[in-house]
Amino acid sequence: MNWFTRTFHKMGSPPFFYRGAKNWVKWLYVIGLVSLLVGTVWGLGFTPADRLQGDSFRIIYLHVPTAHLSQLIYIAIAVAGFVYLVWRMKMADVFIVSAVWLGAWLTAFALFSGIVWGIPTWGTGWVWDARTTSVLVQLFLFLGLIALRTAIPNSQRGALAVAILAIVGVINIPIIKYSVDWFTTLHQPASIQIGNPISIDVSMLWPLLVNTIGLYSLAAGVILYYMRIHVLRRERGSDWVRDVLSN
């Protein structure tokens, strides 16, 4: 067994995960908060204003990382759903339950910051084009996952239902991704694409990257934090939880 498969199997074991994730949470919080602070101050205070959009472009430092991360969390949930479906790995369900709320909040914030950005630049906060609509749909999908998980009290059956719904809902992601190119829309295509020259100035790019790293670390920390709580709750009554809590 190579390193990867060994870690994969170990992470599936609740006590190993509970102990191993403890330090990760702390460090991810630290890295996340520091990078977010640095990136936000840098972006808001020390980058030049945009030639066309003036200072309003600065919302990019929050809008782009949250929007991107919310999509990534949705895809991660679908992947975890697939893992649960195939291997019935308990930790995959723990991940889904812990990440789904964060995903919903990030999607809501991406929509909100998009509206705030749209008012000065597009002249309207909301357009019913495919891009904004499909992000709204992503929010509904998150809410559906949450509602379904709470409606089925039986843990294993609820987990399977949520896994399947997440996989089916993932068809929405390519539509979000390519809607900008399929339909004419007010939303600009992404400025940073693999294989294309970057269409954003370097002085504006760095704070964006720092903020992205910060938000990703913070989100990973939050998810791990909740996963540890869920693991404890589910494994209550087992010996290792008693050991952990008595120390």
Partner: protein, 223 residues
């Protein structure tokens, strides 16, 4: 007899004995369409066909969701679902047969009402062809997702609102493509992309969704 035909015949026979399951969504379709026509003063004019297309699609979508929300609920209650799973036959094929039967029972009558709805909303005659060309694959996808939603919520009491929350977001891509194709054909713009897209989604749904539905049916019996 193949698993497809067994499931198809059985669902048709049960549906035939419960005609209200098909008639209620039809009544819903007519009532909602009339309510919309009544509230628009003077009725719809022919220039508002783009709006009428969107209304017809959404009303058909809601009626289909109503019709398929109860799929497998009776089988789940009385234990026939357990028998179905215990049979040594492909559950995937059986689900396809059952959904096909449901489509004939509830979607075809609704599609038959579409000309009436189109007439009530004063829809331009030139898009009726395109409306049917898109509504037929569209209603198949709606029925499949409706049954998926019903199996997701099997055993959850009072599942109406939950079903809507789960299923409606999944309807959006098909709805956008279908309405887009009709509206573009109305404006004599190219619509091939949307038309191909909606048929592609229909084929993909017929192929893959029964796997998900079958898996959910199986797990509903496990615990």
């Amino acid at each position: 007899m193949s698993a497809f035909l067994i499931a198809f015949n059985r669902t048709i026979r049960i549906g035939w004995r419960h005609p209200l399951d098909s008639l209620n969504p039809m009544a819903f379709f007519i009532i909602v369409t009339s309510l919309i026509s009544i509230t628009v003063e003077g009725g719809f004019s022919a220039t508002e066909s783009a709006l009428a297309i969107a209304i017809l699609w959404v009303v058909l979508l809601l009626s289909t969701m109503m019709a398929s929300g109860s799929a497998y609920a009776q089988d789940y209650e009385d234990g026939s679902l357990e028998q179905l799973i215990a049979q040594n036959q492909s559950l995937y094929i059986s689900v396809q047969g059952s959904v096909a039967a449901r489509w004939f029972l509830s979607s075809v009558p609704l599609l038959a009402l579409v000309p009436l709805g189109a007439w009530m909303l004063n829809l331009d005659m030139s898009v009726w062809g395109m409306l049917f060309l898109t509504l037929i694959p569209g209603s198949i996808v709606f029925a499949l997702f409706g049954v998926l939603g019903a199996t997701l919520t099997l055993g959850v009491g009072r599942n109406g609102v939950l079903l809507a929350l789960l299923v409606l977001p999944l309807y959006v891509p098909v709805l956008l493509l279908g309405v887009g194709a009709c509206q573009r054909s109305l404006g004599q713009e190219p619509f091939e992309f949307a038309l191909i897209g909606i048929y592609a989604i229909a084929v993909a749904s017929i192929t893959f969704l029964p796997f998900a539905i079958a898996a959910l049916l199986r797990v509903s019996q496990e615990y």
